[in-house]
Structure formats: C-alpha cells, structure tokens
C-alpha cells in the first residue's frame, strides 16, 4: 500500500470511535491487534508504577509517555528488532519495552543499580540497550540527530540492509543540530527514518511558539525528502505508515521524516508537576485525554467483535505490575554500583591522572570506612 507524503491532515486508519476508516490490512486480526494493545497497556502501566516508585523516593526523575503509546509501540513494531539501530530520546521507554528490552534493564537504569548496563552513571531515562542496538541516550536535545545520520551512513557503507531510526520531540526541531543532521542524511541518501513525536509541548513551550510552520513534517521539503504525517494516537495508522516508510528507507530511496501527532497528557517530568496551572488549560488536556490511544484500540476490538473484557484488563494489569515489582526488587537487590565505577570507561584504558584520582578517593573511602 502506498502511503502519501505531505498530506494536509494526519493519516488515520481508525476513527476516534474505533471504526476503520478504510479496510484494515490483512495482518490486523483481533489477535494481532490485541498484541499491540498489550504493548501499549504495558507501557501505560509501567509509567503508572514507576511514578509510584518516584513518589516513594526510590528514584529521582521520571518522564512519562502517557498518551504517546500508540506512536511508540507502532514505531517499534514497524522495524526489525535487534537488526535496525536506534537513536532515541529520553521519553522512549515504550519503544524499548516493545522491542523486547527487559524491564529489569530499564528499571535498573531508572534506579541506578548494579544491574544497570550503564552502571548508574546517567540520570533516569537515559537508557541504553546494546542488545537491541539502542545507542545510549544523551540529554542534549537533538544531539542524536547527526550521529543517527552517521550510523545510517555506516550501514550503507557496510552494505547492510539495516536502517537507523532517530526519534525526537517537537521541541527538538528548533535545534541547529537537528537541521545539520537531517540535511546531511538527505545529501548522503543515508537509510535513516526521522520520527518526530509531536506531543505539542516542549516543557511549557507550545508547538506554535516553537515554529511558525503549520506542521513538522512539512520541514522535509527543506531537505528534498518526503515528509509523512500520521495520527500518532492511532496505532494502526502509525504501524502502517512507519512500516511503509521504514521499508522505503531500507530499499535505498533515502531518508524520510515522519511526524506523529500526539499529546503529552502527563507533566513534562516530575520537575514540572503543575503544567495546567502554569501554561496549558485543563480543557486542552481533557480534550486530548478523550482521544486516548488505548481507548481507540479497545473500541476497535469491540467493533471487530473481540472486546477487551474487564477481567482481561485486570489480569494484564496484574501481570505487568508483577513484572515491574519483580524487576524493581531484583534491581534493588543488586545494590548501588561501587563508587569506583565512576573512574572507569572514560577512556579505553585508564590514563595515569585518573588512576591517581581513583587512588585518592580510595584512600579517602578507606579512612572513612
């Protein structure tokens, strides 16, 4: 199925009432849809549980994806897990969960425990999953864009059939590095799919204060590449558009931008709890809550005669909760990385000045002990 670039309205497959607006492709059996639903539900529950963990003071920072699950799950499902490469940003844990990154790994990062692959060095939400080709996340907004282009250039040079996926928020599109990386990708016809998770806010800055262009995907015109516009709360549309674009990119036709229009229902992070008091209206949040991506797929399943029952939901919630709890316990049990890991991995081999600094702290620690 050919997906059109530069549509005036976001591409949509399922109405807000859960009715298909065009025939669903074959693969969307109730079972398959249920799988998507479960991934989205799992992400939502994960957020809910982790916010509790935050409230308990067992982690210091949390950036929820509430409301954005269709975008993230649809995207993850559109690519080849363990084969394609990912340059993500901090709000993308649902992508990682859907790719199959173990919960323990994510939770360990969030808690900074010994089970964390990045050794407790980064603040929560700066994940990394070498097993799934998810490159370690940097806080610096849009700084992942030029490197994503580089990874795709390498994939092309090495003759692989991998692609690179690079995600970012609406705010990121204002940064210079965003432009620099995308422009280079287009010139080099690098196999990279740029995905804007347009949740309409960058902390307290609305997208209209971010750019004067009507949409984000239209910016693709500046780079001579196609720009696609999809309803980011419609998981079917997301999966269809992302799959088509990913395969186009894989086939060597050059990079593309996809804008998924969604909404950040929750706060930006725990450091921004009072969004509705300061910069956006309760009505706006309610309007978007009423367009919830999980609701939409539940309605679709009901429409297809395979409704999600209350018991099923309950069982699913319990399953995820148990999984999260077990991961939290296992992570906690592993303890905090010992202090000396802070002195390693700065270079391949520890240079003398760092050995000296480590010895200095060791002496201090031994006196303290």
């Amino acid at each position: 199925m050919k997906i059109q670039p530069f549509t005036a309205e976001p591409i949509r497959w399922v109405s807000e009432q859960g009715e298909p607006l065009q025939p669903l492709p074959e693969r969307y059996t109730p079972d398959f849809l249920r799988g998507l639903y479960r991934d989205m539900f799992r992400a939502r529950e994960f957020d809910r549980k982790l916010i509790t963990l935050l409230r308990q003071g067992r982690t210091s920072f949390y950036a929820q994806a509430h409301g954005m699950e269709a975008t993230q799950v649809g995207l993850a499902r559109a690519c080849r897990a363990g084969h394609d490469w990912w340059w993500l940003y901090y709000r993308d844990h649902p992508i990682m969960l859907t790719l199959g990154v173990p919960m323990l790994q994510l939770i360990s990062q969030i808690m900074g425990t010994s089970t964390d692959v990045c050794k407790g060095r980064q603040m929560p939400h700066h994940f990394s999953a070498p097993s799934h080709n998810v490159v370690s996340i940097s806080s610096s907004i849009a700084s992942q864009v030029p490197p994503a282009t580089g990874t795709a250039m390498a994939q092309k040079y090495l003759g692989t059939d991998e692609i690179t996926i690079c995600t970012f928020g609406d705010g990121a599109t204002s940064e210079g590095d965003w432009h620099a990386g995308i422009n280079m990708a287009a010139v080099k016809r690098a196999p990279v799919m740029f995905v804007c998770e347009n949740n309409q806010w960058a902390i307290s800055t609305g997208v209209a204060d971010q750019t004067a262009s009507e949409t984000i995907h239209i910016k693709a015109r500046a780079y001579g590449m196609p720009g696609y516009y999809v309803d980011g709360n419609d998981v079917v549309a997301v999966l269809e558009v992302m799959s088509a674009v990913a395969e186009r990119v894989r086939s060597g036709e050059g990079p593309a931008i996809v804008e998924a229009l969604t909404y950040r229902v929750g706060s930006h992070s725990n450091a921004d709890a009072d969004a509705e008091k300061h910069y956006r209206t309760r009505e706006e949040v309610e309007e978007w809550t009423s367009r919830d991506p999980l609701d939409r797929i539940e309605k679709l399943l009901a429409h297809l005669g395979s409704p999600v029952t209350a018991e099923e939901k309950e069982a699913l919630a319990q399953e995820v909760n148990a999984e999260v709890s077990a991961a939290i316990e296992e992570a906690a049990a592993s303890g905090t990385p010992s202090w000396d890991v802070m002195f390693h991995d700065i270079y391949a081999e520890q240079p003398p000045h760092l050995a000296e600094q480590e010895a200095y702290v060791r002496a201090e620690q031994e006196v303290g002990a």
């Binding site: 210091s60 603040m123 610096s140 705010g171 800055t205 910069y279 802070m342």
Partner: protein
C-alpha cells in the same frame, strides 16, 4: 551546610543599611525584576522563562508583571537564544538570555566564541554586545551528566567575555545588576544547589557588587582557602573544622572569574604562605590552574607549601556517585592539612 558557615555566607561585611533575608534564586528574580523596571532596554528570554517562570522559577511572575514583550519563551535553541541576544545588544538593548542548564551551552558555543566574545574587538570598538547569559550550573542535585556540569573554565579561557559565579544572595543580586549595567558580555553562572540553600541578607536599597572583586568570607593567617560558587559552603565548613583544631584559614570567595581578583588572592597568600583552591570543575586544565599558576609565579619565595587544588574529577559528571564527585568539607580540610604539614 553548618550553622556557622551559613552565618558567614549570610551576612557579607559589605551589606549596609536596611536589609531583608532572601535566598539566592529570589535574589536573581529580584535583580531581573528591578532592572526590568529601571531600564526599558532590558528583556529576559529563553526556554520556558515565560509563564512557567523557568524550570527553577527564577523568572516566576516576571511575564505577568512586565508583559510578554519583555519576558518571553523562545524556541528550543541555545544558538538562537544567545545569537538573538547578540543582535539585540548590538542594536542597543540589554538582553538577558537564559540557558536552561549550563550543560546546554554547547549548542551556543560558537555564538559566544565567534559573535559575543569578539564583537567589540573585531569591530574596532564600534559594535558592542552587552548581554547577560544566565545559567544554572554545577552538581549536587542528582542531575547526572547533563544537569551538573561546571563549564566555567571554557569561558574564562575565551577572551572577550566576563564570567561571574556568586554564592550568596547578596552577590547574586548585586553582580547580576552590575552585569546588566556593564558594557561587556557576561556569563552569569548560578550554582543551582545553592538556589534555595543559600539564604542571606540583601539591602532594601538598590546596590551593585563590582565585577572583578573577591569577597573575604573569613579572616585567618595560617592558610588561604579560595573558592567560588557551589563549593563555598563546604569551603566554610572546612575552615570551621580547621578552626576547631586551632588553624585559622582565610577564606576568599572569588565571585568573578574573569576578571578575577588576583590582587586579593596574592595579598592573602603573601600573608598566609599557603593556598588551597577549591572548585567542582573537572581538575585537569580548569580555571583554578590559572590561579595556582599566578600564585606560584608571583609569590614563589613566600610560599610555604605547594598550591593545592581540590576539584571535580576528570569524567562526565556521574549520577549515583554525585556525592563522591563533589569536594566535601572533609576533603577540603584534608588538603589544608596536607598544605599545613608540608
């Protein structure tokens, strides 16, 4: 912070007249508010500084009071923010650009280096860029790599910009006013872990603190402890611990890093013969190396011990090891003991 250290920081001997006690972030807000009122050329902008009041609330209430044309949000681009400030300043305004965290000055590096810092020089003195870049810096808030860095050394090395980092409300307010009334670009680092922790008296009346002058926080004759920014409470804790052992440390808070108060430093070390320099910037090639160099160059004959540094380590700022990374009062005191026993 110990009570005594708190007291030493709370009341600068420079404070006179009627005062009120506020914290450091309020001092910043007040300085902006008062300068916005005083000078129409002043505008304040950056990411989320508008209705949200900034992520630390340094600009809380200012949009409501002064209007959206004077205190406003920008797109998420540090290069655009600093660059716009340069262009405004050249056209006669007094812009205050906020960078949300000092860690995010990177995208604006070339705007600072190629535009702000070189403007006066390259134009033969005809174009000038009197702007202020305000930014929270330093560690101690569990911010990991990108919410904890201390990049001031880069900017001290960059001729053409002034660099300031207060550690008390009095200095924060007075230095920010000086920055706004001066004719040069100023990078104004705000030690974020002191935003609410540092409380102190500020005069009710308008006042300024001159850029380029250190503050004497404590008199002493046995050794000179020199610091700035977020480490100051720990420096004072160390001085206090030493005092309990009968050692009197003189404590200088540099406040300005470019220009820095070499005269005050040299006259103190000439007296004590020993200097311990404290900062949280990574040790190698940091700004305190400059202070150390200057001391040994000028006072080689009167030094009783090598100049010593206590600093951050040479690594991306770590997350769970936040506490170990930062110079503690104990670590500072230990360095002093080393200097004393030399």
């Amino acid at each position: 912070m110990s009570l005594i250290a708190e007291e030493q920081m709370a009341r600068s001997p420079e404070v006179s007249g009627e005062t009120r006690t506020i914290n450091l972030i309020t001092a910043v807000t007040e300085a902006l508010d008062e300068e916005l009122t005083r000078d129409e050329r002043v505008v304040v902008f950056g990411e989320d500084v508008g209705p949200r009041g900034g992520v630390f609330m340094a600009t809380a209430g200012l949009t409501a009071k002064h209007g959206e044309h004077r205190v406003f949000n920008t797109p998420l681009s540090e290069a655009a923010i600093v660059g716009a400030a340069v262009g405004m300043a050249v056209r006669g305004m007094r812009p205050v650009a906020e960078i949300q965290f000092a860690d995010y000055m990177g995208p604006a590096f070339d705007q600072i280096l190629s535009q702000a810092a070189k403007m006066r020089y390259r134009s033969g003195g005809n174009d000038t860029a009197p702007l202020v870049i305000r930014t929270p810096s330093g560690g101690g808030v569990k911010g990991g790599h990108h919410h904890s860095q201390s990049p001031e050394s880069y900017y001290v090395h960059m001729a053409g910009v002034q660099v300031v980092m207060p550690s008390t409300p009095y200095d924060a307010k007075g230095l920010l006013k000086s920055a706004l009334r001066g004719e040069d670009p100023v990078i104004f680092f705000e030690p974020k872990r002191l935003y609410r922790a540092a409380k102190g008296e500020v005069p009710v009346q308008d006042y300024t603190v001159p850029i380029g002058k250190a503050a004497l926080r404590r008199e002493g004759s046995d050794l000179t402890l020199i610091g700035y920014g977020g480490v100051m409470p720990d420096v004072l804790d160390a001085a206090q611990a030493l005092a309990a052992e009968g050692v009197q440390a003189e404590v200088l808070d540099l406040r300005s890093l470019m220009p820095w108060d070499k005269e005050a430093v040299l006259s103190s070390v000439a007296k004590t013969g020993r200097a311990v320099l404290v900062s949280e910037a990574p040790r190698t090639a940091n700004f305190m190396g400059e202070v150390a160099y200057s001391i040994q160059e000028a006072l080689f004959d009167s030094l009783l011990a090598p100049v010593l540094q206590v600093a951050g380590f040479d690594m991306p700022y770590p997350y769970v090891q936040d506490k170990i990374y930062l110079p503690s009062g104990n670590r500072i005191a230990a360095a002093c003991v080393r200097a004393l026993n030399y």
